[in-house]
Structure formats: C-alpha cells, structure tokens
C-alpha cells in the first residue's frame, strides 16, 4: 500500500519467510493445546449432579466391624524370625499351554461365578500393623483360625493372630495374604499377585496427590509409601481423559461410560458391564465400591473374551489387569513388555487368555504400556518400560489399586 507521499508499499513476504512462520505457528498452537490438555492440573469435584444414592458403608454387613463391636486383642512383643513357609515359583507357559502345576498358587482358587455372595463376617477385629522386616510374634498365638470376614472362606490363608510374615515375594498377616509369582508367558514376563483379603477395605484405591482431577499425576513410589501399600498396581490413568466411570471408595467422581466398566461391590463381588449396560445410579444403589474404566473386560462370567480389535489391543505391549476369583480373592497381574530379550509384551487377546489360565471368573484390563507398574512393600517389583532402576524414571500415575492393612 502506498501512502500519499508516494512511498513504496512492502510486498507479500517471501515464501522462505512464510513457511517457517507457519511452522512456528503450528508448533505454538500444538504446545498451547498440549499444555491445556496434558499439563495444566485441574482439580475436579465428585459427580454430584445426579445425586447418586451412595451406598452407606455403615450398613454394609460385609464391612469390617467397628471398634465398638470388637473385642480388644492383646498384642505381643515382636521378635524377629525368619520365614520360609512360602515358596517361590518361576514356571513357564506358552501362549497355548495352561498354567503349569507348579504355578497354581495364583490359579488354584476355585473360579466361582461373579455375583456369588460371600459369608458374612463375624464381629472380630483385625488391627495388624505393617512390618517392614520378616517378623513374627513371640507371644502365644491363637491356635484356631479367625473365621471373621472372608477368613471363613480361606482359613489357612491368614495369620491366626497378629503375626506378620513377609518374604521377598509374599506377605501374610491377619487380614492380607499376597504371593507374587513371576511367570514366563508368550515371550514375556508376567507378575501375578495372588491376593486374599479378609475385609473389602483391605483393597482400596488412591488418587495421585490424593486429588481427583485432570492432569494430576504422581510417582508411584511415594504414593505407595504414603498409603502403606503392600501390593499395588497402576489404575486407569483417567487423568488424561474426560471419559470413563470413576467410582472410588463408594464415591462417584465421573459418569461418562465410554467403554466397558468393571465394578467391584461392597460384598467383594466383581462384575463387568458393556458401555450401554451400565447405569451409575443403579450400581451405586447396589453398593458399587470401586470402578475400573480403562477397559476392555477380559473374562466375563468365566468366559475368556477374544477378538479384541484396534491397534492398542493388538500390539505387543506391557499390560496390567485385575482378576477376580471369588469375594476376597483377587489377582493383580502385570506383564512387562517392549524390552526385547527380556519381555516383549502381549496382546489383549493373550492377556485375556492368561487370566483364563489363571482361573479367574472375571478379569478387567487396566492401563498398560509405560504405566504398567507393580509395587510390593513400597518398592517397584516388575521392570516397567523405560525403567532404569530409579524411581524417578517411572511414569507418573493418576491412580493405583492396592491392598493395605487397615488400622484403627
């Protein structure tokens, strides 16, 4: 444009200037989007818009008895001792084979169908504290098993008294029994934590930074140590998404079913729903305790599902999943991957088959990839993708499912 004095107007910018400017603009826009989509933390409130009828844990017949209902247990002085009761299993399976007989600890449970109700607990308390070393109590221990809670279902799985027995791959107390097995499966290494709990509140979930929100993450190690997690795996990694059903510890945080929904109820049963089958109000009335939303369901009513489509499902990758045998008996499974020579990872079909071989009645897939992490006694137990031995190299998580002692 020329002005009135006749000065020459500048012409259009040359292409060698325009193209880099366009690239810069593209990069700036992408970075701005990425900041709002991934980085900026956004604390969210529980979903109260629908006035979900939250199940009242006080009236839960399967819950841990309250302090007023319990009798006082005498505590005994602790003395250190060695424990060699559990044996480490390291078997191997091919994709088509069943679990070897030596590796039946995780799969030895009877695969009851979901929905089966457990025995109601008796009014006997438990108040074990986490021991950091292998210890046992010197004082006289009860000679009869405590049949409260799901102790009646697995009387030999729990300690009779307050004794806590821990090895490198197992933990046994009055309320919790977990044994981790390292299995070889489809050129990959799978870690199967066979978990028994006496009461449902021994199995719980935690948010990163104890906050529900978007783009809120935390390293798994401090998270596990803060909550005294005995065994823990990563959860849904929901903080990157706006979809999914998020119910944790009886509180509904989000109700946007997008895919399958896994539901753990007040009575310890587990059930998975299709996207259109799930109704939050109904399930909250039914006593929904924890939901899992990463999807898909792997085993349903004892039937191993297959034919999962999509690149995420069909690639060889690290996997994490939750398996259900019967109320009080669960499996937490992590498969390492993307590490040629050690563990290449598995597809979702293979993962479902693994749960089938373990004998689970229900199984549900959780977030995988770099998120696949299993922690035992606050330390990383598996070998996650891109893990170099330092906790700082772990991918930060948005949530975890774990088993822990409940005190007080």
């Amino acid at each position: 444009m020329s002005d009135s004095k006749g000065t020459r107007r500048k012409g259009p910018l040359p292409l060698y200037v325009v193209i880099p400017l366009d690239v810069l603009l593209f990069a700036a826009c992408l970075l701005t989007f990425a900041y709002f989509h991934h980085v900026r933390p956004q604390v969210l409130k529980p979903d109260i818009s629908a006035e979900h009828p939250v199940f009242d844990p006080e009236n839960n017949p399967y819950a841990r008895p309250t302090a007023t209902e319990t009798s006082t247990l005498t505590t005994a002085a602790e003395t250190t001792a060695t424990f060699s009761d559990t044996q480490t299993f390291e078997g191997s399976m091919s994709g088509e084979q069943t679990v070897l007989s030596g590796g039946t600890a995780a799969g030895s449970g009877t695969s009851r169908q979901s929905g089966e109700t457990p025995n109601p607990p008796a009014a006997v308390p438990s108040s074990s504290a986490i021991a950091t070393t292998a210890t046992t109590t010197a004082a006289p221990q009860p000679t009869e098993p405590d049949l409260s809670g799901w102790g009646a279902n697995f009387p030999d799985k729990f300690s009779y008294g307050d004794e806590i027995v821990q090895t490198d791959n197992s933990y046994r107390s009055h309320d919790i029994n977990v044994t981790i097995q390292k299995l070889s499966y489809c050129d990959s290494v799978a870690y199967v934590a066979d978990l028994y709990i006496r009461y449902l509140d021994n199995f719980s979930s935690a948010f990163a930074q104890d906050t529900f929100g978007r783009s809120i993450y935390e390293n798994a190690v401090p998270m596990a140590q803060r909550h005294n997690m005995i065994i823990a795996v990563n959860g849904d990694y929901f903080a990157t998404r706006d979809t999914g059903v998020i119910v944790r510890n009886y509180v509904a945080y989000r109700n946007v079913p997008k895919d399958d929904v896994g539901a753990l109820y007040y009575d310890g049963t587990f059930r998975s729903f299709g996207r259109d089958e799930f109704d939050l109000d109904t399930e909250m009335r039914n006593g929904l305790y924890q939901s899992m939303s990463f999807a898909p369901a792997l085993v349903k009513n004892g039937t191993v599902l297959s034919g999962f489509r999509g690149s995420v499902a069909q690639q060889l990758a690290p996997r994490t999943g939750f398996g259900y045998y019967e109320p009080g008996h669960y499996a937490l499974v992590v498969v390492d991957g993307r590490q040629p020579g050690y563990s290449v990872g598995i597809t979702i079909d293979q993962f479902a088959e693994l749960f089938g071989q373990l004998g689970c009645a229900e199984a549900f897939n959780l977030d995988g990839g770099q998120s696949s992490q299993m922690l035992f006694m606050g330390q990383v137990y598996n070998v996650p993708d891109k893990y170099n031995g330092s906790a700082a190299s772990l991918r930060e998580l948005s949530d975890m499912f774990y088993a822990a002692e409940v005190t007080g």
Binding site: R9, F26, R241
Partner: protein, 190 residues
Amino acid sequence: MKALKTIWRGICAFLPHLLLTYGLMLLTFFVINIFNEPMGFLNSHVSRVFEIEYFAAAVLMTAIAIIENRLCVTAFVYLCVACAFILPVFRAVRVDSPLPLDTVYFRVMSLVFSLATIAFAVAQIVLGRADAKKRYEAENAEASEPETAPETSEPETPAPKTETESEPESSEEQPPSIREDESKKAARRR
C-alpha cells in the same frame, strides 16, 4: 477507518495461515486417536474448545473468501463440511458429555474437515499472495508516476500531449526516466 482497513487486511492475510495450522492440528489428533484413543484427543473438553474455535475460524474464512470473491463456490462447500463437522460437537456441548463425539461419523468428519481445511487454506494463501502481488505491483507503479502526470490510458482524451504521452501504451507503467530514454531513441530514429 484506515486503521480498520489495515486490521481487516491483516485478518484476511493471517486467517488462512491460522486455519492451515488448525487443519494440521486436527489431522494430527485424528492420527493420534487411531493409535491412542484413550488419550481423548478428539473427545476431551479442551478438544471441544479447540473444535469450536476452529469452526469459528472456518466460518470467518468462508465469509472473507466470499467477500473478496475468491473461490466462492469452494468456500460454500467448505462451509457445509464445517457445519457437518461441528454438529456432533454442539450436541456434545448441549448434553455436556464427550460421548456424542465418539462416533465413526465424527471421526470421518474430522479427517474430511481437516483435509478440506488444508486444501482450502492453501488455495486461499496462494490466491491471496497472487492478489497481493498484483496489488503491490500496481500500487508501486502508481506511486512511481509523478503526481501531476495526466492520465494517458484513453487515447480519446483531448489533453495536451507531452513527450511521455506520445509513447506507446505498453510503456505506460514504466518509470518516467525509461520513457524519456525511449522517446529520445525514437526521435533519433526519426
């Protein structure tokens, strides 16, 4: 008024580049969504804001194209594509849920819209640059001419003839110094 005109020209020049960027972003999200759907690049609240902003830019670009009479029919078709893309987004906003976006239709429209945007924006940029170049040349020529120089484009005009006016029409846009040289050469030839 002059400032408004400058701003308008600035918007006209910048918008195709912004739209090209948005188109590339949507294409990127579409590809990521194929491989990593759980990240929700097409479904999240942030994505929804981006998509509405993108649609607004597309509508504005269409309006500019029609006002400037540049690829009017193409602009209209592009507007239809944009509307088809944004409908499920508005539906998702209305029910405050990302779920209506999770359809094959929306994914296909994302691809179509991003490709259409890239093509339309590139065409607008190319044509806009060509127009700007023409305008630049014309305005420079005008600016180079003496302010008192009478118009010579119409031979019927009974204006007093000068040296420069006697030159052929093809030399009208040349600078006066060149024209003077050529008239001297012609006189010598005569």
